[in-house]
C-alpha cells in the first residue's frame, strides 16, 4: 500500500536511517530561501578579523534598544518569570534582545548532542550531510525564536507594558502583538546570522561565546556604575541603576540611621543590581582565573627529530564553561516552557491545584518578578538570597543535585563528541609525529583516556560548584554569566594571540598601537 512500508519494518538501524532521510529532506526543503554567509575567498587578515569582531560586537549590543510599542522604562514594569536566569543568555527584558542568544544556543546543543549521542544517523564525513546539519541548526534556531516569542506574547508577558493598552477594557491589541513579534524574531534572525559571520572565520572565537562575553562585560560595568535613575515599583523612591553609584550616593546623607538603612539596601535591593551580586561576580572572576591555571603537562617527544622534547598541557577546565552553559540551557528551557504551559492551562481554566503541580507564580509587592512558590518548576530554580535558600532546603538540594548531574554528564559526553577526545587527540599526535615520552604509539590513546575524561569531569564539577555557590548566595545568574564570560574570554584571547603571533607583525593595528 505504501511504498516505504517495507522500509519501516526492519531492524531498528534501518528505521533510524529512514527517519534521518525524512528529517534531512525536511531541511533540504528550506535550503534555497535561507541566507548563507559566504566563506572568505582568501585568508582573512588579522586586521580584518579585528574589525569584523568589533563591528559585529557593537551591532549586537545595539540590540539593547527598547522594543517599539512598549511604554517607557518597560523593563521595570514587565512582570518577569525568567528574572533569575536571563543574564546568562544575554536576554534583556523589553529590548530587541528579549530572547538574546537562547534560540541559537538551544538549537546548537540539541543538534550537536543528537548527532554525538547517535540519536540521528548523520554521516558528517559527507559534505552534503554537514551542510544539512548546519542548516538544521540554523532552521531550529529560527523556529525556536518564533516559538519563544509567540509563547511570551500569548502568555500575556507584554500586556501591561504595551503603549495605550488597557488589559481590562480593550480588545486584544493584535497590531501591537505583530509589531513586537516582528521585532524580536527579526533581531533573533540577525543575531543568528552575526553568529554565522563569527563561526565562518571572519572574527575571533565562536559567535555565541564572544557575544556572551561582550554582553556580560557591559552588564558588569553597567550594574556597578550605571548612572541612570529609575523610579522603583510600588514606592515613591528613585534609585541609581549601578550598585556602587547608588552606595556612594547614599553617603551624601549624614544621618546615621538613614545611612545604615541605605547601606543595607545597597546589598539587598531586588529591583536593581545590588552589591551582593557584584561581590559574587568579582569572586567568580578570581576563582575562574585561578582554576584556569590548573593543568597536567604530558611530556611528549617527536618521533622524527631526536631530542625534540616538549609538554602537551591538558587543562582542568578541559571543556571550558560549556557544561555550565549546557546545564543552564536545559534549566531555562524547562522554566520557559513550564511558564508557557502554566499560562496556557490557566487560560483554559484547568483547576489551579493541578496547575500548581507544574508551578505556581507569586508576584511580591517589592519586586516586578514572578516568583515560584511551589511545583516542579520551583524545585529547579535558584533563590534570591541566602536566607531564601536556607528557608527551602529541599529545593536548594534538588536544584544543586540536578545541576551537578547535568553538568558532569554533559562534560563526560562532550569531551568524547567534540572532536578533542582521547582518540582524536592521539590521531592528532600521530599526524604530527608526536608521541608521549616513554610510551609506545599504540598506548597513547590509553594514556590520554586516563587523563582527559577525568580532567573534563572534575573541571566541570568545580565550575558548576562555583556557579552554584554564587546561586545559593543569591547571585541570580550573574555569577554564572561571569563564569561563562571569563572562561570564554580566555578561549577567544588565546585564538587572538595565536593569530597575532602568526601574522608576524604585518598588522596595521600592531604598528599603530605598538609604540604605546
Amino acid at each position: 500500500m505504501f511504498p516505504f512500508c517495507s522500509m519501516t519494518i526492519g531492524t531498528s538501524r534501518q528505521f533510524g536511517f529512514f527517519i534521518l532521510v525524512r528529517l534531512l529532506d525536511l531541511v533540504k526543503f528550506f535550503l534555497p530561501i535561507l541566507p548563507e554567509v559566504e566563506f572568505p575567498y582568501e585568508r582573512i587578515s588579522f586586521d580584518e578579523r579585528v574589525v569584523f569582531t568589533v563591528a559585529s560586537g557593537i551591532i549586537f549590543l545595539f540590540g539593547q534598544l527598547p522594543i517599539y510599542g512598549l511604554v517607557a522604562n518597560a523593563q521595570f514594569k514587565i512582570i518577569d518569570p525568567l528574572y533569575n536566569f536571563r543574564t546568562i543568555f544575554a536576554m534583556e527584558k523589553g529590548t530587541l534582545l528579549e530572547l538574546g542568544l537562547l534560540p541559537a544556543i538551544t538549537a546548537g546543543f540539541i543538534w550537536q548532542l543528537a548527532v554525538g549521542l547517535k540519536f540521528l544517523n548523520v554521516n558528517l564525513n559527507l559534505a552534503k550531510d554537514r551542510e544539512l546539519f548546519q542548516t538544521g541548526q540554523k532552521l531550529t534556531s529560527f523556529f525556536l525564536s518564533v516559538v519563544y516569542t509567540a509563547g511570551l506574547i500569548y502568555s500575556g508577558y507584554f500586556d501591561n507594558v504595551i503603549n495605550g493598552y488597557d488589559v481590562l477594557s480593550d480588545s486584544l491589541p493584535l497590531g501591537w502583538y505583530a509589531f513586537i513579534f516582528v521585532q524580536i524574531v527579526g533581531w533573533s534572525f540577525f543575531t543568528t546570522l552575526l553568529i554565522e559571520v563569527f563561526d565562518k572565520g571572519y572574527a575571533f572565537g565562536s559567535g555565541i561565546l564572544c557575544f556572551l562575553t561582550l554582553q556580560t562585560a557591559t552588564n558588569v560595568i553597567k550594574d556597578l556604575v550605571g548612572l541612570e535613575i529609575f523610579p522603583l515599583i510600588n514606592s515613591n523612591k528613585s534609585e541609581t541603576y549601578g550598585a556602587l553609584s547608588n552606595l556612594l550616593k547614599s553617603f551624601t546623607s549624614f544621618d546615621l540611621t538613614v545611612l545604615k538603612q541605605n547601606i543595607i539596601n545597597a546589598f539587598t535591593r531586588s529591583q536593581l543590581p545590588n552589591l551582593t551580586q557584584f561581590y559574587i561576580s568579582i569572586l567568580s572572576i578570581l576563582v575562574v582565573i585561578f582554576l584556569q591555571n590548573f593543568r597536567i603537562e604530558i611530556p611528549i617527544r617527536s618521533t622524527k627529530v631526536r631530542a625534540a622534547n616538549n609538554v602537551y598541557p591538558i587543562r582542568l577546565l578541559y571543556t571550558g564553561a560549556l557544561p555550565v552553559l549546557f546545564t543552564y540551557t536545559v534549566i531555562i528551557n524547562i522554566q520557559i516552557f513550564g511558564y508557557f504551559l502554566v499560562s496556557i492551562l490557566t487560560k483554559y481554566n484547568v483547576s489551579p491545584s493541578l496547575v500548581a503541580l507544574i508551578g505556581k507564580y507569586n508576584v511580591p509587592s517589592f519586586a516586578n518578578n514572578y516568583q515560584l512558590t511551589t511545583g516542579v518548576l520551583f524545585y529547579i530554580s535558584n533563590s534570591s538570597s541566602i536566607i531564601a535558600s536556607l528557608l527551602s532546603p529541599i529545593k536548594s538540594v534538588v536544584y544543586v543535585a540536578f545541576s551537578i548531574v547535568l553538568s558532569t554528564w554533559f562534560s563526560q559526553k562532550w569531551c568524547y563528541i567534540s572532536g578533542s577526545g582521547p582518540k582524536d587527540t592521539s590521531k592528532l599526535f600521530k599526524d604530527q609525529g608526536i608521541s608521549i615520552a616513554g610510551k609506545r604509539d599504540i598506548s597513547i590513546t590509553k594514556e590520554l583516556s586516563r587523563v582527559i575524561p577525568v580532567a573534563a569531569v572534575s573541571g566541570a564539577f568545580s565550575l558548576i560548584a562555583l556557579a552554584l555557590a554564587g546561586e545559593i548566595l543569591g547571585g541570580l545568574g550573574k555569577g554564572v554569566s561571569i563564569i561563562v564570560g571569563v572562561s570564554s574570554a580566555f578561549g577567544i584571547l588565546e585564538e587572538f594571540l595565536l593569530e597575532y603571533q602568526q601574522t608576524g607583525g604585518n598588522s596595521q593595528f600592531s604598528s599603530a598601537f605598538g609604540g604605546l
Binding site: E36, E38, L65, Y68, R130, F133, Q137, V197, D424
Partner: protein, 91 residues
C-alpha cells in the same frame, strides 16, 4: 557434560579472538564521526561552541551585507521610536 568439554580447543579459541578483533576494527573504521570537528571540518571544539562549519547551498550573502542589514534593522526600529516621539508631541 562438564564445562571443560564445552570449551573448544586452543586453535578455535584463537580464531574466535581474531574474529572479535577484526569485528572491532571494522566497527571503528566504519564508525561515523560524532562531530564536525572529528570529521575534520572545524566546528565546536572542547571549549568553543560553533554552529556553522560549511557553506550550504542557499541564498549566499557577503558578511558585510549581513552587518549592513542588521544595522538597517536597528535603524528602522530607531526611526519608529523617533516617529512615535514626534507624533506624540503634536497629538
Amino acid at each position: 557434560m562438564s564445562s571443560s568439554s564445552a570449551q573448544a580447543p586452543g586453535g578455535l579459541r584463537s580464531v574466535a579472538k581474531r574474529k572479535a578483533t577484526a569485528d572491532k576494527k571494522a566497527q571503528s573504521s566504519s564508525a561515523t564521526p560524532l562531530s564536525t570537528r572529528s570529521a575534520g571540518a572545524g566546528g565546536s571544539s572542547s571549549t568553543m561552541m560553533k554552529l556553522f562549519t560549511d557553506e550550504a547551498q542557499g541564498l549566499r550573502v557577503d558578511p558585510l551585507v549581513v552587518l549592513f542589514l542588521a544595522v538597517g534593522f536597528i535603524f528602522s526600529v530607531i526611526i519608529l521610536h523617533v516617529f512615535a516621539k514626534i507624533t506624540g508631541k503634536f497629538t
